[in-house]
Amino acid sequence: MKERFEKFHPFIPFLFYVGAVSLLLLLLHPFYLGVGLLLILIINFFHDRFQGLKRWLFLIITSFILMIVINPLFNERGRHLLFEVGQHRVTFEAVVYGGMNALSIIGVIAVFVSYNVIMTPNKLLFLFAKILPQFAVLLMLTLRFIPLMRRRLEEISVVQRSKGISVNQGKWSTRVKTGMLYVQALLTYSLEEAIQTADSMKARGYGNGPRSSYEYFKFKKTDAVAAVYLVGLFVFILFNRVHGLGYLTIYPIMETWQLSTMDTFVLVGYILFLSFPIIIEAGGLFRWRILN
């Protein structure tokens, strides 16, 4: 996956991820969600063999279970009674509704995991730099500053340990006080050093006039084709969604799960949209095979 999907102009993956998240949130239908989740898992598998997802596994599982359990717990509406616990009705509708929401949330999390792999801060910066140049500088400084502060705090605590001062030992009240002193030292130090950064920015002409931005991504023909492909599919799906397709009505009366002909068309569009990175990669592999 790394090879080809990442090579697109950052606008394309951005478009894809925005589209994917909105589709996952809008098209609440068990079939759609199941297929969508499967595709996104495949995309994640291509990235890093689920390494990224593993870190989110706890969140994913807990939110899944919570959503499935909590909805039937509070929601008794529905015609299909599954079972009764005491006075509490557990309905099929409630379970399906909770399940769909759970799938949708998991899907969104998985999309974000993939987003983190593809949309490096650089690309994001690039996208913003065109519209809001000042904001891009702010973002850039923040990106540098957060890890910098963390490193400095670590340094301070190491040095203070050499003086016998530590936040890990002693009475709670002194520990808190020491902690405050650390933060105070960190802030003074960082502000002091930031003066130099400001000077260095000024010395390089920051704030003198309109900024331009160094573009190292070119918008190529393939990018344009991809953009048309993604936007076209998205508009097609959205149009049909507005007309009630691709959505399972549960209340007041649950629809049949079966897909109509038009529903199937939308589903195909949906699959084509979400599998865009997979198609690109597969196409690349295919081509590589032929050429070699």
Partner: protein, 538 residues
């Protein structure tokens, strides 16, 4: 008409009684390489900053500064014409990765993307920095960072380059590399370079003109070879680097030698006089105080070992200087020794007994550790409070003793100031004071000579020597070969996580090619004699 002209310039900071620059006149011609030097606080930085409009300090400025005939206040778009490189490699960096850092200035002046690409391609090639482009800026070494800073400034194609102690934070090899780059810029592109610098050993060979400042005024000004004898005959002998010092201290005649080559020629011609025995004082060396056995350490399970199977022993009364390149693990080694990080394998022995690594209280009581950046040492907002805090923490109450200590260190008058308001040398002394209050038996100093001017360095050396003569055991890591040769009783070389060789200085430096003193380089294969420092010669 000179290219840069300062005419009777006086500048004072707000709320300051003494002006920082006093009635200073200076002319600099186009294409010159000028080195400014003098003790800290002599006004070098202020002078440099006055030359660049954007970063002129606030204050009252009298007199005229003109560049290329135009008064500096009236010029516009100066950012492009004058580049400025600051002292600290880390703090100048704005962006998270190298590429953004490089083009930052170009973006600010609103250059077209195409031209940016052009300039960048050229500059990256010139610096050989292709492989660095997509690295994170904080992962680079200090030397590389400073090169990136220079490159970023050069991309704006300045005519004048101002540098404020650019190599103060670099190790000798990186600083040499950086200076070579400057020399190339000066020689191949005729760029006018004005640099403030403490490390004079190397820069004097590059400079067309040197300017010595004191209290906001110019003390000496001219070609190095002409000015050096004058400096030698004034009270500022500390500023004369080793090779001219050797020449001048023997009242040599003819051209003052600056490089090793010239120095060697002169020594051969004048058939000089290297005495073989050193006059170093003998200190009693006792038993082992701290030892390390088969010690290994790494910061992360995934990374390589920084210290690898290291054995070390520090005897009582030793003054040990640890040398080695950047990233060889010197700082980490000191941290392990001070009990600040826990080794993954191996033993730490205090008085030949194994310590409980878990608590480390033993080590902390025994050891005073001075970090590389003394600013991090202080968590109170004045020296006085820091001292009180330390006394309270260690349950000390002998105020008189503290007073004497501060007097001895010469920082008594500073105790009410904020640590960040002190100069590098003062800050270090203050931190040292706070350490010595609790009377540690061993001092660990992490590059104490970094960024100090010759006078502060001498000052530090005196303090360390008097501590040593009182029986303090000292271990310091340093890049300063001359310093180590002069004061240490034992030197060690750190390489690949091990201490690969250790010996007394006279033996240690004999065999080295880079890690050796200037005099040793001159004396190499001359009469088979080894000499380390001028004080031994005299």
């Amino acid at each position: 008409m000179a290219y840069i002209e300062l005419n009777k310039v006086t500048f004072s900071y707000p709320d300051c009684f003494e002006p920082a620059i006093r009635n200073l006149s200076l002319k600099i011609n186009k294409g010159k390489f000028v080195v400014l030097f003098g003790s800290s606080g002599s006004g070098k930085s202020t002078l440099l900053r006055l030359l660049k409009k954007e970063i002129q300090p606030h204050g009252v400025l009298n007199g005229e500064i003109s560049i290329n005939g135009a008064p500096i206040q009236e010029t516009t778009g100066l950012s492009k014409e004058i580049g400025f490189v600051f002292q600290d490699p880390e703090n100048q960096i704005v962006a998270d990765d190298v590429l953004h850092e490089l083009v930052f200035g170009l973006e600010n002046i609103g250059l077209k993307t195409n031209e940016m690409r052009n300039r960048l391609a050229e500059m990256v090639h010139f610096f050989g920095a292709e492989s660095l482009l997509h690295r994170k800026s904080h992962e680079l070494s200090g030397g590389k960072k400073q090169q990136i800073n220079l490159a970023s400034v050069l991309l704006m194609q300045p005519d004048i380059l101002l540098l404020d102690e650019p190599t103060a934070q670099l190790d000798p090899v990186s600083s040499r590399e950086f200076l070579d780059m400057l020399k190339r810029l000066n020689e191949e592109f005729g760029m006018t370079i004005i640099m403030a610098e403490h490390r004079l050993e190397e820069v004097f060979t590059l400079a067309d003109e040197i300017v010595m400042m004191e209290k906001g005024q110019i003390l000496f000004n001219g070609e190095p070879r002409e000015v050096l004898p004058q400096i030698w005959n004034s009270k500022n002998q500390a500023f004369v680097p080793t090779i001219p010092r050797l020449f001048l201290s023997h009242k040599g005649t003819g051209m003052v030698p600056l490089t090793v080559k010239e120095g060697r020629n002169w020594v051969q011609e004048s058939s000089a006089f290297f005495s073989e025995e050193s006059k170093k004082m003998e200190y009693p060396i006792g038993d082992e105080r701290i030892g390390l056995k088969n010690l290994s350490f790494r910061y992360d399970k995934k990374n390589d070992f920084i210290l690898n199977d290291l054995d070390f022993s520090l005897a009582k009364g030793e003054f040990y200087a640890l040398l080695g390149g950047n990233g060889s693990g010197k700082s980490t080694f000191l941290k392990v020794l001070a009990g600040l990080v826990k080794p993954e394998m191996g033993k730490v022995l205090v008085n030949k007994k194994k310590t409980k690594i878990i608590k480390n209280i033993e080590l902390i009581n025994l050891i005073g550790y001075l970090p590389q950046n003394p600013k991090l040492f202080f968590i109170q907002d004045s020296i006085e409070k820091e001292i009180q805090y330390t006394m309270k923490h260690w349950e000390l109450n002998n105020v008189d003793e503290v007073d004497t200590l501060l007097n001895n260190l010469g920082i008594k008058h500073l105790i009410s100031s904020h640590p960040f308001d002190l100069s590098g040398g003062e800050l270090q002394k203050a931190a040292l004071g706070c350490l010595l209050i609790r009377k540690p038996e061993i001092l660990l100093l992490d590059e104490p000579t970094k960024g100090l001017d010759p006078i502060s360095k001498q000052n530090l050396a005196d303090i360390l020597q008097s501590l040593h003569s009182e029986g303090m055991t000292i271990l310091m890591s340093t890049h300063d070969v001359e310093f180590a040769a002069q004061y240490a009783t034992k030197c060690g070389m750190m390489f690949q996580g091990k201490i690969t060789s250790e010996d007394v200085p006279s033996e240690f430096f004999k065999g080295n090619f880079f890690y050796t003193t200037m005099l040793q380089r001159i004396a190499r294969d001359l009469q088979n004699r080894a000499v380390q420092t001028v004080s031994e010669v005299q």
